[in-house]
């Protein structure tokens, strides 16, 4: 009296198969669940029992043992309800032998199936194992949009049983949902003035350069940063799925949004919230939710030093390792970092109209918080000034769509070129600045990188002198003012 079906789990950003085994024995009535279930999984027992009863099917009054294998992998979430129920019913011969299928779904007490957070993961496993997937009707289209997945929607436990009796493939599979090509609601056309900062944002988008904006409060730093996803190229199919799964692992659904994610954690966020953690099941943090998108840290200098240090690994390797006793989990965390900061604690140092309230010592201390390795990560450090109302040009600013077009073409140029870490500093401007001590070697490297991107934006194969010059002109610095 044994049956098994396939379900799924997320480990890090990785989809894994989980086998739901059910055994109905001859001993007295009991319901045991093993395989490291967390509380949400353990509660499946009650939901399954009620849902089975509501569906007019007899729940075996014997010893029911359910194991989620591999038994040493911690499980979480409510999506095991449906596979557990089907497994038990098959083991007690209430339904015919289970055809191999990937099954996910939460059960309501009336027997209906609710969409859970594993919709995308089920699609990935379905495609990988060439198995049909049974998921809640509401999330079937999302699951089906994973390339290669064959998906059938079920509305209730009874419906699922019926499908198994008639053969899963008796009906047509669900058609994939088109990935939404939604535009960012924030458009660059709304940003007035800030011509230099806009240009910097475009270059950052084209070259995936990390960007630091600094300037007084109200200079539009956040406004600019939040418009970056709108000018980035949309996510590809596999990227959309990858990002969606990471979000699912954090218990969030973003569907199949092709707009690159934008995450803006507050500076009071905990380390675990930033890089991932949590007790029991390890949940990805903001750096992973921003994977393939933008991580925006406003008030960068207000973030505790230790928190900023944890960003160094993902910035270097594009992934983050969350270590737990006995195990560690890797999450992808390949994000573009945009940060904003005031120039001093009061924010007005260098403002044309308002005096700075800070004592010089306080200002120096504030600035020193951002020294060293983190600052080195920013290829672009750009000052944004407050725009005076009377200086605002009434002409419409360029909309995101136009900028996005240039970024896309620059990106494809960049992709078509062999990436080399080599940069030569033979350009007379770079050489001159190096010799005059206006540029450090590291600074020269940044100028060369940014210059390459500017050439891409200019549709130029070679990096010409004016490209380097523009990069030099844009080279901000955070030291004094």
């Amino acid at each position: 009296m044994y049956a098994a079906t396939t379900s799924v789990a997320l480990v890090g950003g990785d989809a894994r198969e989980v086998w739901v085994e059910a055994h109905v024995g001859r001993q007295q009535e009991a319901f045991k669940l093993s395989g490291l279930p967390d509380t949400s999984v353990r509660e499946a027992k009650d939901r399954v029992r009620a849902a089975v009863a509501s569906s007019g099917i007899r729940f075996p009054n014997r010893t029911v043992t359910v194991n989620l294998a591999p038994a040493d992998l911690p499980k979480a979430g409510t999506d095991y309800d449906l596979p557990i129920a089907l497994g038990i019913l098959a083991a007690s011969r209430e339904v015919p032998n289970l055809e191999p299928a990937v099954v996910v779904g939460e059960l309501a007490l009336d027997g209906s199936v609710r969409p859970g957070s594993s919709a995308l993961v089920a699609g990935v496993i379905s495609a990988r194992r060439k198995l049909p997937a049974l998921v809640a009707v509401e999330s079937a289209a999302e699951t089906a949009s994973v390339p290669g997945a064959v998906v059938y929607g079920v509305s209730s436990l009874a419906h699922a049983v019926e499908m198994l009796r008639d053969g899963i493939d008796s009906g047509p599979p669900v058609r994939p949902k088109e990935g939404s090509s939604r535009r960012s609601s924030a458009d660059l056309a709304e940003v007035k003035g800030q011509l230099i900062a806009r240009r910097a944002l475009e270059i950052a988008a084209a070259g995936r350069h990390h960007l630091l904006l600094y300037g007084p409060p109200g200079a539009g730093k956040t406004m600019l940063a939040s418009r970056l996803p709108g000018i980035l190229p949309p996510l590809s199919d596999p990227e959309t799925v990858e990002v969606g799964m990471l979000w699912a692992a954090a218990g969030r659904s973003r569907g199949l949004d092709r707009l690159p994610p934008f995450r803006a954690p507050h500076h009071t966020a905990s380390k675990a919230a930033l890089v991932g953690g949590g007790s029991g099941i390890v949940v990805p943090g903001e750096v992973s939710l921003a994977h393939r998108g933008v991580l925006f840290l406003d008030e960068l200098a207000e973030f505790p030093r230790g928190h900023l240090d944890t960003l160094r690994q993902p910035l270097e390797s594009g992934s983050v390792t969350v270590a737990r006793r006995g195990s560690s989990v890797d999450f992808p965390a390949d994000f573009q970092l945009i940060a904003a900061t005031n120039p001093c604690p009061c924010g007005y140092h260098g403002d044309r109209r308002r005096p700075c309230e800070c004592r010089p010592v306080a200002r120096a201390r504030y600035r020193s918080r951002l020294s060293g390795p983190l600052l080195d990560r920013f290829d672009l450090i750009v000052h944004t000034a407050r725009v005076d109302l009377e200086d605002i040009d009434d002409r419409a600013s360029e909309p995101s769509a136009a900028v996005s077009e240039r970024v896309r073409s620059a990106r494809s140029r960049r992709a078509g070129r062999a990436q080399s870490g080599e940069h030569d500093f033979s350009d007379p401007l770079i050489r001159g600045a190096l010799e005059a001590g206006r540029l450090t070697l590291r600074g020269a490297l940044k100028v060369a990188r940014v210059g390459r991107t500017i050439a891409d934006l200019d549709e130029s194969e070679r990096v010409e002198e004016q490209h380097i010059a523009e990069a030099m002109g844009l080279r901000g610095d955070w030291v004094d003012g």
Partner: protein, 276 residues
């Protein structure tokens, strides 16, 4: 510490203007005093960048014209004025409220040193080693007022040393020139009040030079108009370049880098300044 000497009111080196004080004190001097006509540039320590840009521009213009710039070496306007004068290779005299070997405030160390290394001078009525006590600073302002032939106030709040200097100057018959400011901006309240009380308004660097010529006579050396660079004397923010030069941001950045490469401009944080 550089050498210093005590200069008494009977010495030929003693600044003539100080004789107008009721009690001309002997002063400690480090550096060079000249008999060039002096102009004080003073203002609040908590200035805006607008104020410090203007003060720097004034200091530079005075330096170029051969006038001595007198100030108190406080942070803010005082420091900016002297920075401009030094940049122009002019003569800067700082009147300290502490011993001339005491560098206060500490962040002006470079300026302190810069004046000593230039043709300028540090002076104080207090012996070397005197700590910077609060009460000494207003007293030092009477020296600033007296040794200058005119006093320029760039930004001044409701109260503060700059206003004291201006009043003392007016009392002994020195013209007071003041930069007008927004009526609702605290950093300009004192300035506007001085204007209401009859001070001369200053409407820019060129205007300052013209007015000084009328009030205290022609400058020792006719200033060469060195504003050949395309950046205003007081400096400009990088964001303002495209509209100043009427070009695209890319073109502005390219031109900026080229000018920097040719040594025509220099940067200070996000500010673009003419190089001198």
């Amino acid at each position: 510490m550089a050498e210093h000497r005590l200069v008494t009111p009977h010495s030929s080196e003693y600044p003539v203007g100080l004789g107008d004080l009721e009690d001309p004190p002997p002063i400690y001097v480090s550096g060079h005093l000249t008999d060039a006509t002096a102009v004080a540039v003073v203002g609040t320590r908590r200035c805006t960048r607008y104020g410090s840009d203007l003060a720097r521009s004034f200091g530079k213009a005075l330096g170029r014209s051969g006038w001595t710039t007198v100030s108190g070496l406080a942070r803010g306007i005082d420091a900016a004025g002297h920075t401009g004068t030094l940049a122009a290779g002019g003569h800067a005299v700082a009147v300290l409220g502490c011993g001339i070997d005491v560098c206060y405030p500490a962040e002006n160390r470079d300026l302190h040193q810069g004046i000593l290394e230039s043709v300028g001078a540090l002076i104080s009525e207090y012996p070397p080693g005197t700590r910077p006590d609060r009460w000494r600073f207003p007293a030092r302002n009477r020296l600033i007022a007296a040794m200058s032939s005119a006093v320029v106030v760039v930004e001044a709040g409701e109260k503060g040393g700059a206003l004291i200097t201006a009043r003392l100057a007016a009392e002994i018959g020195r013209p007071v020139l003041v930069v007008p400011g927004d009526v609702d901006r605290p950093a300009s309240t004192g300035c506007n009040r001085l204007l209401r009380d009859g001070a001369f308004p200053v409407l820019g660097t060129d205007d300052l030079l013209e007015e000084l010529e009328l009030l205290i006579g022609p400058p020792p050396t006719k200033g060469t108009d060195a504003s050949g660079s395309d950046v205003p004397d007081g400096g400009i923010g990088i964001e303002e370049l495209p509209s100043l030069w009427e070009c695209t941001p890319s073109e502005a950045l390219v031109r900026l880098a080229q000018m920097e490469g040719e040594g025509l401009i220099r940067r200070s944080g996000d500010r673009i300044l003419p190089a001198i």
